[in-house]
């Protein structure tokens, strides 16, 4: 019997290493107990137990390898060349592509004012930009939504929010009989608040569907991930903020640079409160730059509305910032939700 145990012990080496470390001792003990009990019952039962164990083991080993692979994939640890080490320069680059490419696009547009690029160069540039973003988007989706990919998920949120606002509210927008500043706050809230709602729906789906629960657990373990996802909404929010303004390139470029720096600092830090503050400061500097830009450009962009004053436009941008900052803070509330007993609480509070 000791011999059979030794063979079983050796066969346990065929399981994935992590699984073996976690369950190896238990498997070995339970196998030993099965053998003992079967031996006491009789020869036939003993033989049957050994055969059962031997025939079921290969299937279990394959299953564990597949499960480990699937699990790693969903927790963003899938070993491949795209498994980017947290905080590494490749991860930082992959995460910041939406910001950096935005900057390159703006630079290209700005140079285009002075240099007449042939049409094919312009088309090639735009195609390269969108195919890169789309390619990275598909890659991140396929690789189990790793951390670097989260801003890509946030990228379309402002467009979705704007569409919902335009379809549902704008045609029937009643206006409010309240002071101007309050109406601006309400209006911007109704405009951007949908982003929070969309993220809540995504969160509920990931919590609800067993397949996406590992992703949900990651978000529960590190609430700043959801803030980082929402941070990805900032570039297109800026784009919408600057809509119909003239000569925005220097300010837009500087705003995106602030966002990229905030993102860089987030990825290089490991403490939640420092990570969150990186995003907060990045967003604040970016939106303040945008607000200053709009103040400077207001007169040349809207000469017919000079009497309204550039201060109003600045306030709109600052209110947008306040809403974005508020929405980005909401993921912290995840820490207040009850946690399953066997899930360790790794998220530290700020």
């Amino acid at each position: 019997m000791q011999f059979l145990r030794k063979i079983y012990y050796l066969l346990l080496n065929l399981y994935p290493r992590k699984y073996r470390e976690e369950y190896g001792e238990e498997l070995y003990t339970v196998f030993g107990q099965s053998l003992n009990d079967a031996f006491e019952i009789g020869g036939m039962e003993f033989a049957k137990t050994i055969l059962d164990e031997l025939f079921s083991m290969p299937k279990a080993i394959i299953h564990e390898y597949l499960r480990e692979r699937r699990k790693s994939r969903m927790t963003g640890k899938f070993a491949s060349r795209f498994d980017l080490t947290p905080g590494s320069s490749t991860e930082v680059f992959a995460a910041l592509v939406p910001f950096l490419f935005g900057m390159v696009m703006i630079l290209f547009a700005y140079i285009g004012k002075f240099v007449d690029f042939p049409l094919w160069i312009q088309i090639a540039f735009v195609l390269f930009f969108w195919s890169s973003v789309l390619g990275l988007f598909l890659l991140g989706s396929a690789k189990g939504l790793p951390r670097w990919f989260l801003p890509y998920l946030g990228l379309p949120l402002p467009i979705a929010s704007l569409l919902i606002f335009n379809v549902l509210l704008d045609p029937k927008w009643p206006g409010f009989n309240v002071p101007w500043l309050v109406s601006v706050i309400l209006m911007e809230g109704f405009l951007w608040g949908w982003m929070a709602l969309i993220v809540v729906v995504l969160l509920l789906i990931s919590a609800w569907m067993p397949k996406f629960r590992p992703f949900y657990r990651r978000l529960r373990d590190d609430w700043t991930l959801l803030s980082f996802l929402l941070y990805g909404a900032a570039p297109l929010t800026l784009f919408i903020t600057f809509d119909e303004y003239k000569n925005v390139e220097p300010f837009f470029f500087a705003s995106l640079l602030m966002l990229a720096l905030g993102g860089w600092s987030y990825l290089r830090n490991s403490e939640p409160w420092k990570q969150f503050m990186s995003l907060y400061i990045g967003l604040a500097l970016s939106m303040l730059t945008a607000a200053a830009g709009k103040a400077v450009l207001f007169e040349e962009s809207w000469p017919q509305f000079v009497s309204l004053g550039w201060e109003n436009e600045m306030i709109y941008t600052l209110v947008t910032w306040a809403w974005l900052a508020f929405i980005m803070f909401l993921p912290y509330m995840l820490n207040l939700l009850p946690r399953s007993k066997n899930q360790p609480s790794t998220a530290k509070s700020i």
């Binding site: 369950y23 003990t29 339970v30 499960r67 699990k71 569907m209 939700l337």
Partner: protein, 116 residues
């Protein structure tokens, strides 16, 4: 946010018996194995590998939890980990019971109609 227990149904027979085995309280791996055999009247004989494959999946789905026996000595040759049903696991088991009851009820009605 807790997932809908119905989304885990139907349970396979071994899964049902493992959860049922843990319903009264926590158990070690081998105790589950023996209990499942008894509950299923020898129909479901889990090998060690099959049991732990199922246990791993149930842990991933948060239907059961793995508990450390801590300083307590579980006894000679017994592993120091045991398993217990989570709240979600209990609700899934109850949902499966309701589903099975519904099936049996429908079958009884249909058989009675045929017999009449």
């Amino acid at each position: 946010m807790s997932p809908d227990p119905v989304s885990y149904l139907p349970l396979t027979e071994p899964t049902f018996y493992i959860l049922l085995s843990l319903a009264p309280g926590r158990k070690h791996g081998y105790a589950i194995m023996k209990d499942v055999r008894g509950l299923s009247r020898e129909r479901v004989n889990l090998s060690t590998s099959t049991l732990y494959t199922a246990v791993g999946r149930l842990l991933d789905q948060e239907l059961i939890e793995r508990l450390d026996d801590g300083g307590q000595d579980p006894g000679p040759g017994l592993p120091r980990k045991s398993y217990a049903l989570t709240d979600l696991g209990r609700r899934v088991l109850e949902a499966e019971m309701v589903r099975l009851q519904g099936m049996v009820k429908e079958a009884r009605l249909r058989l009675r109609e045929d017999g009449a």
